[in-house]
């Protein structure tokens, strides 16, 4: 872990230094195309589909009555419209927080277990598999979140503020890395999230399978790692700031096609 931390710091330091490859050599289109067919995220999707249909938890229930916004049990297209304001909770929820709510209300699995858990472990890992399952059924759909509810507007504004908010030991904001075209860390191109196409590229390609560590990462996981790389306080799982940043990205990316789940270096 420590080593990885250093590697990240080094890569940040090198971000704008002399590259080993010229920019025009770094065309990964062929590479990415070959990986898209047979994305190992499918293995997580399979697990998630099984979990969706398996009676679990103290209430021994499945998630088949979970309402992801399009009605009880409706999965196709649901992720494309998340985050959204849910009347039953009167809260803005992203996919992870909504699934967590379903697991608690339908199955009796306490959300605390997930919030206080670790990524890739136990119930949080199961939640990630469920995410893989749900987003796969919005693959190719256009991002279509509804920003009309006052609480969505509030979240969008909070997300925008958080995006530009400089903090941490290195006085970094999300915008430090994600508000210009053509920036990269080593060979990794960074989307410019201040533009609709950049926001769509970010929002519409996570969750994703990461080939560098063979892990499936949800957007919650991705955002948590952005905070960590920012050297600031790590956000609480599914907390408002994470959902707000998601509303900001999804809202800016509205109308673009989602490629879910993604596959990343």
């Amino acid at each position: 872990m420590r080593k990885q931390f250093k590697a990240v710091a080094l890569s940040l330091a090198l971000a704008f230094a002399a590259p080993a490859f010229a920019q025009d050599e770094l065309n990964f289109d062929a590479y990415r195309e070959m990986l898209a067919d047979g994305n190992p995220a499918e293995l997580y999707e399979m697990e998630g589909e099984e979990l969706w249909r398996t009676a679990r938890g103290p209430k021994n229930a499945t998630l088949e009555q979970c309402d992801l916004g399009l009605g009880a049990g409706v999965v196709p297209g649901a992720a494309a419209q998340l985050p959204r304001h849910f009347a039953d909770t009167d809260r803005v929820q992203d996919l992870e927080s909504r699934l967590m709510y379903c697991m608690e209300t339908l199955q009796g699995i306490p959300s605390e277990q997930i919030i206080k858990g670790k990524f890739l472990k136990d119930e949080r890992a199961k939640l990630a598999a469920l995410v893989a399952y749900v987003v796969t059924h919005s693959n190719g759909e256009k991002i279509a979140i509804d920003l009309s509810h006052p609480k969505m507007k509030e979240m969008y504004a909070l997300g925008e503020k958080a995006f530009y908010y400089r903090t941490g030991a290195m006085d970094f904001a999300c915008s430090s890395c994600h508000s210009q075209d053509g920036k990269r860390i080593r060979a990794t191109q960074l989307p410019n999230i201040t533009k609709p196409e950049g926001a769509a590229a970010g929002w519409g390609s996570w969750p994703a399978y990461r080939v560098s560590n063979s892990q499936f990462w949800t957007m919650q996981h991705r955002l948590w790692d952005c905070f960590r790389q920012q050297r600031t306080a790590e956000p609480i799982f599914a907390s408002d700031v994470t959902i707000a940043l998601s509303v900001f990205m999804a809202g800016k990316g509205n109308g673009a096609e989602a490629v879910w789940p993604g596959v990343k270096r």
Binding site: G38, P40, L43, M46, E47, S214
Partner: protein, 103 residues
Amino acid sequence: MASPMRIRAAAKDGVTEVRVLMAHVMETGQRKDSSGALIPAHFITELSARHNDKLVLSAQFGPSVSTNPYLAFKFNGGAKGDKLAVTWVDNKGDTRSDEVQIA
């Protein structure tokens, strides 16, 4: 126990195309964990695929095959509804077999 494979097999114009994703760490035996200890090698060594009961592919893998291995191949014949089964074995003797119907 090993996790299930994702097998897709589709027949088209007399050829069946098979794509397989296997859940496996494919540990090389050359990496160290956080305490500096070598992580023992753990990888799929052999794989076979059968169409109904006929062998259509056998393969040997080394630790250079990526984690969660992917394999795609094609064979002549195969019809919708036929069985396509894949079995792998790893260097620790773990094994996994999964079967699908050709689409």
